[in-house]
């Protein structure tokens, strides 16, 4: 279904290229067309599921099941959303997701930057050994401790409560490692020296020098943490045993498994779960993409 679309665009592009750059060789034009064609196919495949989500969430279930399929968005989004809200506490789940993802982002940014600043810019007994320990904890796979973590949470009386999702992740090795790289690269020693001469202690220096100078890295870590926490599924699924407390992901999964036939409604719920995140990502996408790549290249 994307093939005719593609040829049309490619032809248009070829025409435009031929007009604006008349002296290019035929072969050059052809390679441009192929390049753009492939990229466009990639973009279409990448975005199609979102478009299809839009189509289904605005359609009635009857329209979704019909053949030939309805290829354009319809007008039933509000009705579907009303059905969702009537069946699950979507707003409550959304609020929970915001609380969890928001407080995790804030805590991780604060605690990781404190630790990263200390590791990057100060010398203290045991520092290097402690940092190696931190790196080793990277290697521990998270899914290994699903059962005992659940037992621990129930011993603490935290099952079914949001702190079970927040507290364990409030500081992490990944963020400390990442921000330490940033701090080493971007905070000049002289600045810390002069702050110390002016009588600023460690925490004061962290707040007035490290935080402002690391803001690019902090923005990335904050968004990254928010996105990860928002999308986390297996841990909330395990630990939120209380049906009254859900995140968007578990609420959505429940909606999907209980009301298997009302697709329009389920898709409306999916829209609610996807849209805030895309918004946050689009706002921070420049920082986000650049740092994802930088982090990986460091690894």
């Amino acid at each position: 279904m994307s093939a005719p679309e593609l040829t049309r665009t490619s032809r248009a592009q070829r025409d435009r290229l031929a007009v604006t750059r008349p002296r290019r060789s035929r072969q050059w034009v052809l390679s441009r067309v192929v390049t753009h064609g492939c990229i466009l196919v990639g973009v279409l495949l990448s975005l199609f599921p979102f478009y299809w989500l839009l189509v289904m969430s605005t359609s009635t279930t009857g329209q979704i099941f019909g053949y030939p399929p309805n290829l354009l968005p319809s007008t039933h989004l509000l009705e579907n959303l009303r059905n969702v809200v009537a069946n699950v506490d979507l707003l409550g789940a959304m609020l929970n997701s915001f609380i969890v993802a928001g407080s995790l982002a804030l805590l991780v940014v604060l605690l990781d930057s404190l630790a990263a600043f200390a590791f990057a810019k100060y010398r203290f007994p045991g520092r290097d050994v402690l940092f190696v320990v931190l790196l080793v904890t990277f290697l521990v796979p998270g899914n290994l401790s699903l059962v005992p973590s659940f037992v621990l949470m129930s011993e603490l009386g935290w099952t079914g409560q949001l702190q079970a999702l927040i507290v364990p992740g409030a500081a992490n090795a990944f963020g400390i490692f990442l921000l330490r790289q940033f701090a080493q690269a971007s905070i000049p020693d002289e600045l810390i020296e002069s702050a110390t001469l002016d009588g600023a202690g460690f925490f004061r220096t962290w707040w007035s020098i490290a935080i402002p100078m690391l803001r690019g890295g902090l923005a990335f870590l904050g968004i990254f943490t928010f996105v990860t926490a928002w999308n986390d599924y297996i841990w909330p699924l395990v630990v939120l045993v209380n049906p009254g407390t859900q995140t968007l992901q578990t609420a959505l999964a429940q909606l999907n498994s209980v009301y298997t036939t009302d697709y329009g409604m389920i898709m409306a719920g999916a829209v609610v779960s996807v849209v805030p995140l895309i918004g946050i990502f689009l706002i921070g996408s420049r920082h986000f993409i650049a740092n994802i790549a930088a982090g990986a290249l460091k690894g």
Binding site: Y122, F124, P148, L197, T260, I289, A294
Partner: protein, 337 residues
């Protein structure tokens, strides 16, 4: 004065000691640093290390999470070794990992290579390719479930419209595996392409010019220049996709999970049962905490085997990891642009 990361700074300021430059500080005067790093270690001890040790113990027990814990020695592992369902989950996980990782990394390379040509709207394309990676997998698994639906899915509708036979994606063994793999590919191709693109931008232009002078065509350049130059990043992405592939859970759980209404876990013949889904099912649906923990450790052993293989790959090409870290600052700046 506590700045000593830079050897030159520490040495160089030795002369003009307005405040003493201390290379090594005492335990007591370093208390703010210890306070600063302590949250991570405390949290890791309580929520990381303790559960792991506890899970070693649990894997030697029989426990439903409520009643008494009974010690059974190696029985869980003895059962695991001859548990056909477990080995089926292992083989599913590996098959899905292969049929998703190979096309995914190839497509990502191709996309990065294409984006690296001087084209317009590169920023838009990068965002468009990356968006799948930041969206909720639960929501998108549901969407893919209806895209690939046997009866009303757009894929089968398209096949019908083209006069082709439809495929029961969600109710045949290979259909299930392919559907899960497609979701993984969709989600991670853009992510990997962005990484490759960043690495490509760090490759000096003259390498390509030299290839052109030597008469290398598109494919020749792709295989003889691009891929070798990217080897460190490719290894990184292979390692991350190994970790992700072994931990595959959300996609099969949403589509073929226990609560799916059809009474079976993992779909037809458990074709969509992955190791983590099996672990979850045994632990929290069957309430077999001991066996669940044993499965977790088997997964850990498998991950360790792959880690050793990956490490070997890195070590054998010992020139490989270093250039990546050396050129990092330039690369990251390049990326930010």
């Amino acid at each position: 004065m506590a700045v000593a990361e830079h050897p030159t700074t520490a040495r160089g300021t030795g002369g003009r000691q307005a405040g003493p430059v201390v290379r090594r500080r005492g335990l007591r005067s370093s208390w703010p640093q210890y306070v600063a790093i302590s949250p991570f270690y405390l949290l890791f001890l309580v929520f990381g290390a303790f559960p792991i040790l506890f899970s070693v113990y649990l894997s030697f027990t029989d426990w439903d999470g409520i009643g008494d814990i009974s010690f059974v020695g190696l029985q869980q592992y003895a059962y695991l070794v001859q548990d056909a369902r477990f080995w089926n989950a292992v083989s599913n996980t590996l098959i899905i990992w292969v049929i998703s990782t190979v096309p995914m990394l190839f497509l990502a390379l191709l996309m990065a290579f294409l984006l690296h040509q001087n084209i317009r709207w590169k920023g838009f394309y990068r965002v468009a390719f990356f968006v799948p990676n930041v969206t909720s997998m639960v929501a998108m698994a549901i969407v893919f479930g209806s895209i690939f639906s046997d009866s009303f899915g757009i894929v089968n509708s398209t096949l019908t419209a083209l006069g082709l036979p439809t495929i029961a994606w969600l109710s045949t063994e290979w259909g299930i595996k392919i559907t899960i793999a497609v979701m993984v590919i969709w989600r991670w191709t853009g992510y990997n392409a962005i990484l490759y693109l960043a690495a490509l931008q760090a490759v000096p232009e003259d390498v390509y010019d030299a290839a052109k002078v030597d008469g290398a065509g598109f494919w020749r350049t792709f295989f003889s220049v691009t891929i070798p130059m990217l080897r460190p990043v490719i290894l990184f992405t292979v390692i991350t996709s190994t970790i992700g592939g072994l931990g595959l859970f959300t996609e099969p759980q949403i589509l073929f999970g226990a609560a799916n209404g059809n009474g079976t876990v993992g779909g037809v013949n458990e074709a969509g049962m992955t190791i983590v889904l099996y672990q979850y099912d045994q632990s929290f649906s069957q309430l077999d905490f001991g066996y669940g923990s044993a499965i977790a450790w088997a997964l850990f052993a498998l991950a360790a085997v792959f880690a050793v293989i990956n490490w070997r790959l890195l070590r054998d090409r010992d020139a490989v990891p270093r250039p990546a870290s050396r050129t990092t600052p330039r690369r990251s700046k390049e990326v930010a642009r």
